[in-house]
C-alpha cells in the first residue's frame, strides 16, 4: 500500500477540534478526556457512546494480554467499485482516520486469566461494515477458538455488509456462520456482545447467534435500517424499536449489560461455559511449575493469576509441556499445534508480557497464517 502522508485537512478530520462532547441523550456537556476515562459512558445519564476497537479490548481484556493476529489482512477491490469515490480511496481514508487496517481486529487475550479468542469491530471504520477482511477475521477467530478449545467473544458494531464488495461481502455471512456452527457442534462457547449499532448482515449472521447474547443499553440493533422499515411499511414504529431493550423484550438478547459491568459479566459467563475438551482441572493443579523452563517468572505469574481470578481457578493453556492427561483431554483429533509462534502458545495467562507493552505495535510478523 502506498504510504500516504496525512494532509493537514486529513488531520483536521482525525482530530476534531472540539474538546467537549454534548451527550445526545441528556444534553450534558462532557469533557472528552474525562469521557474517555469513564469508558465513554455519560456520567450524568448513562448514555453509552461508541467505543473504538482498541478501547473495547482494553475494557474487556486483562491488561497487556492481547496479542493481535492477522493484523496484515487488507481488503482488495474485487468489483473495481467506484461511487463518488473509489473503494480503495475510501479504505485508505478510513485507515488514515482510524489507524486500523479494516473494521475489525482479532486476537488472543485473557479475561481474568481465562484465555479467549476475541474479535472486535469498530464503527469508525466505514461504518464497521463487513467485507472480506472482517468476515475472514471473525472466521479465523472462530477457527482458533475451535483449535485451541477456548471461548470465542465477538463484539459487534456495524451497519452491515460492505456494499462495495458486493455479494462477496454477503458471502461473509455464510462463511462466519458456518464456522460458528462448528463451534456449536463441538461445545466451544461463543459470547456475542452487541453494541451500538449492530444492524443488517452482521446482526443477521454471527451477532445474533451467540450461545449468550449480551447487549449494551439502548444500542441500535436491528435487521433493516429504520429508514427502510419506516419508509416501506407505513405503520408507526413501536416504542424503542430496534433498541437493546426491544430485542430483550422480544427474546433475542439474554442480558442488557451496562458497560461498567461488561467485563465482569463476560468473566462470570466464561466460568460457566467451559469448552468441551478444555482442561477443567480446577485450582493449582493446572499449574505445575516443574515443567516450566522459566520457573521463577511463572511462579510469579501464578500468584498474579491466582490473585486475579480470585477463586484460584488459574486456567489457561497452562500445561504446554504436560504429557499425559492434557494430551488425552485435548485429543478429539485436534492436537494442539506445537510449532506455533510464541504468542499463540503462550503458557502464561497472566504473564505481563514485558516484551510487548504496546499491543497496537505488535509486528505483523506475529500473525499466524492458516491454510
Amino acid at each position: 500500500m502506498p504510504i500516504k502522508l496525512p494532509s493537514f485537512r486529513g488531520r483536521r478530520d482525525a482530530y476534531p477540534p472540539d474538546l467537549w462532547t454534548k451527550c445526545p441523550s441528556c444534553g450534558e456537556m462532557l469533557f472528552n478526556k474525562q469521557l474517555d476515562k469513564v469508558d465513554r459512558v455519560c456520567p450524568s445519564c448513562g448514555h453509552h457512546f461508541r467505543l473504538s476497537a482498541r478501547s473495547r479490548l482494553g475494557l474487556l481484556l486483562d491488561r497487556d494480554s492481547f496479542q493481535e493476529r492477522d493484523e496484515g489482512l487488507q481488503s482488495l477491490d474485487p468489483l473495481g467499485f467506484v461511487d463518488q469515490k473509489s473503494y480503495p480511496d475510501r479504505v485508505a481514508a478510513a485507515q488514515l482516520a482510524t489507524g486500523m487496517r479494516d473494521a475489525a481486529v482479532w486476537g488472543i487475550g485473557t479475561i481474568e486469566a481465562r484465555r479467549v479468542a476475541i474479535a472486535v469491530m469498530d464503527f469508525a471504520f466505514m461504518g464497521g461494515s463487513m467485507g472480506s477482511v472482517v468476515g475472514e477475521k471473525v472466521t479465523r477467530a472462530a477457527e482458533a477458538a475451535l483449535d485451541e478449545r477456548i471461548p470465542l467473544i465477538v463484539v459487534s458494531a456495524s451497519g452491515g455488509a460492505r456494499m462495495q464488495e458486493g455479494t462477496l461481502a454477503l458471502m461473509q455471512l455464510a462463511k462466519t456462520v458456518a464456522a460458528l456452527e462448528r463451534l456449536r457442534a463441538e461445545g466451544v462457547p461463543y459470547i456475542s456482545v452487541l453494541t451500538d449499532p449492530t444492524t443488517g448482515g452482521v446482526f443477521a449472521s454471527f451477532a445474533v447467534l451467540g450461545d449468550v447474547n449480551l447487549a449494551e443499553p439502548n444500542a441500535l440493533i436491528g435487521f433493516a435500517g429504520a429508514r427502510v422499515s419506516a419508509g416501506t411499511i407505513s405503520t408507526e414504529l413501536p416504542e424503542g424499536f430496534q433498541r437493546s431493550e426491544f430485542l430483550f423484550r422480544h427474546g433475542f438478547v439474554d442480558r442488557v449489560v451496562h458497560r461498567s459491568d461488561l467485563r465482569a459479566e463476560v468473566s462470570t459467563l466464561l466460568g460457566f461455559l467451559v469448552p468441551i475438551g478444555f482442561d477443567e482441572t480446577p485450582g493449582e493443579g493446572t499449574l505445575v511449575p516443574g515443567f516450566r523452563p522459566l520457573s521463577f517468572l511463572t511462579s510469579l505469574a501464578e500468584r498474579v493469576s491466582a490473585d486475579l481470578s480470585g477463586d484460584g481457578d488459574g486456567r489457561g493453556r497452562t500445561a504446554n509441556g504436560r504429557p499425559s492427561a492434557q494430551g488425552a483431554l485435548e485429543g478429539n483429533g485436534r492436537p494442539k499445534p506445537p510449532g506455533q509462534p510464541i504468542p499463540a502458545s503462550n503458557p502464561e495467562p497472566a504473564d505481563p508480557q514485558p516484551a510487548e507493552p504496546q499491543p497496537s505495535t505488535t509486528p505483523a510478523g506475529s500473525e499466524r497464517e492458516r491454510g
Binding site: P6, R11, D13, A14, L19, W20, F49, D70, E71, G72, L73, Q74, S75, L76, D77, D83, Q84, A93, L96, A97, T98, G99, G127, S132, T139, A161, R162, E165, G166, T167, L170, Q172, L173, A174, K175, V177, A178, E181, R182, T199, G200, A204, S205, V208, F223, A224, G225, V228, S229, T232, I233, T235, F246, H250, G251, S360, A364, G365, E367, E369
Partner: protein, 342 residues
C-alpha cells in the same frame, strides 16, 4: 420497496423489456434487473409444477404461522425424491398482497428450516428456489426475529447432511436470499441477479439518490454472469427467447436438466466429503491480501500545530456559542453508513 414493486410497471413498460439490446452497459444491466423482476417471470410454484412429476406442498413453521411468501414441500423430479423450498412472488396484485411480494417474514424462513431438517432426516436432497427482493423489513418482522431466522437458516444449511442445490431464478436480494441459498451448487438463470443490497438502496446510500439505481446495479456486478466470475454462482442456465417470461415451460425444462445432473453428481459424494466441500466453498469466498508492511500509523496524538489550532478553535467556539455537534466524528462521518437494508 412496495412502492417500487407496484410502481415499476409504469416506469418501465414490460413490452419494451428484453426486446431492445442497448449498447450502454448501464442500460444493459438495468434491463436485466427489470427482467429478473418481471411480474410474468415464472416463479417457484410454476417452475416446480413444470419440472416435477409430483408435488405436495407443506405448510407452517410450527412456531407462529404460515408465510405464503415461502413455499415448501415434497417433490419428485425425474423420479428423484427431493424437498423443495422457495420464495414465491405473486403473478398479479391480489396474489402479491397475499404473498407479501415474495418478502418472507421470520416464519417463512422457519418453515424453510423445518423442511430442511425433515429433508436431512429422510435423506432427501434439498432444491431451493431463490427469488426475493429482500426479507420483510417491517416492525413485526423485527419483533419475531427476522435476523435470527436468517442466521439460523444459513447455519443449518452450512451443515445439513444432505445435498443442497440453490437456484437463483429472479432476484437474489441480500440476506433474504442467502438465507435459503447456502448450497453445494448454486445455479442461476441467465437473467437472474444477486446482490448484497437492492440497487435502489445502494444508490440511496452511496449516491444519495435512488435515481442512480442503474449505476449502482452496474457497480455491484449483480448479473448472473458477473456472479459466475466471482465464484458466488457455479452454473448459469440460459433462458429461452427474450427471457424466461416468454417461455416458462422451456425455462423449466432447461433448469430441470441442470438440476438433475447436479443432484446425481452430488448424490454420489460421501456425505462427509459433501459437507466439507460445502464448508470450503464458503470458507474460500472473499477478496483480501496480507500486507506485511508496518501497520497503519495510529493517530496517537496531534502535533503541536494541531493542538494549537484545537485550542484556538475551541476558544473561538467558546466565544461564538457552544461547540457544534454532539459526536466526535462519529455522528458526522465523512462516509455514508455502509449498511445493507434487506
Amino acid at each position: 420497496m412496495v412502492d417500487r414493486l407496484l410502481g415499476r410497471g409504469g416506469r418501465h413498460p414490460e413490452a419494451s423489456l428484453g426486446t431492445e439490446q442497448p449498447e450502454d452497459p448501464k442500460a444493459a444491466v438495468w434491463a436485466r434487473v427489470q427482467l429478473a423482476r418481471n411480474l410474468k417471470r415464472p416463479h417457484t410454484l410454476e417452475l416446480v409444477a413444470a419440472m416435477a412429476d409430483e408435488f405436495v406442498e407443506l405448510h407452517g413453521d410450527r412456531l407462529f404461522g404460515e408465510d405464503e411468501a415461502v413455499v415448501a414441500g415434497l417433490a419428485r423430479i425425474d423420479g428423484r425424491r427431493v424437498v423443495v423450498i422457495g420464495q414465491q412472488k405473486g403473478a398479479e396484485t391480489e396474489e402479491n398482497i397475499r404473498r407479501n411480494f415474495g418478502m418472507p417474514h421470520p416464519e417463512g424462513y422457519r418453515k424453510a428450516t423445518r423442511l430442511m431438517e425433515l429433508a436431512e432426516r429422510f435423506r432427501l436432497p434439498v432444491v431451493s428456489f431463490v427469488d426475493v427482493p429482500g426479507a420483510n423489513p417491517g416492525p413485526e418482522s423485527e419483533e419475531r426475529g427476522i435476523a435470527e431466522s436468517i442466521a439460523r437458516s444459513i447455519g443449518l444449511m452450512s451443515r445439513l447432511r444432505t445435498p443442497i442445490l440453490a437456484v437463483i431464478t429472479g432476484e437474489g436480494g441480500s440476506g433474504g436470499a442467502l438465507a435459503i441459498a447456502v448450497a453445494d451448487v448454486v445455479i442461476a438463470l441467465e437473467n437472474a441477479v444477486y446482490s448484497v443490497i437492492s440497487p435502489e438502496g445502494c444508490a440511496a446510500i452511496l449516491w444519495r439518490t435512488p435515481d442512480q439505481a442503474s449505476t449502482a446495479a452496474l457497480a455491484m456486478k449483480m448479473t448472473a454472469q458477473d456472479q459466475l466470475a466471482l465464484g458466488v454462482v457455479d452454473v448459469v442456465v440460459p433462458e429461452p427467447g427474450a427471457g424466461a417470461h416468454t417461455d416458462a415451460a422451456e425455462t423449466a425444462r432447461r433448469l430441470k436438466v441442470a438440476i438433475v445432473a447436479e443432484l446425481d453428481r452430488l448424490g454420489r459424494l460421501p456425505l462427509d466429503e459433501l459437507i466439507d466441500q460445502r464448508y470450503q466453498r464458503y470458507r474460500g469466498l472473499g477478496a483480501f491480501t496480507v500486507v506485511t508492511s508496518a501497520p497503519v500509523a495510529a493517530p496517537e496524538r496531534p502535533g503541536l500545530v494541531d493542538r494549537l489550532r484545537d485550542l484556538l478553535e475551541a476558544g473561538l467556539q467558546g466565544l461564538g456559542g457552544p461547540p457544534a455537534g454532539a459526536g466526535r466524528g462519529q455522528d458526522d462521518m465523512p462516509d455514508p453508513p455502509a449498511r445493507d437494508e434487506v
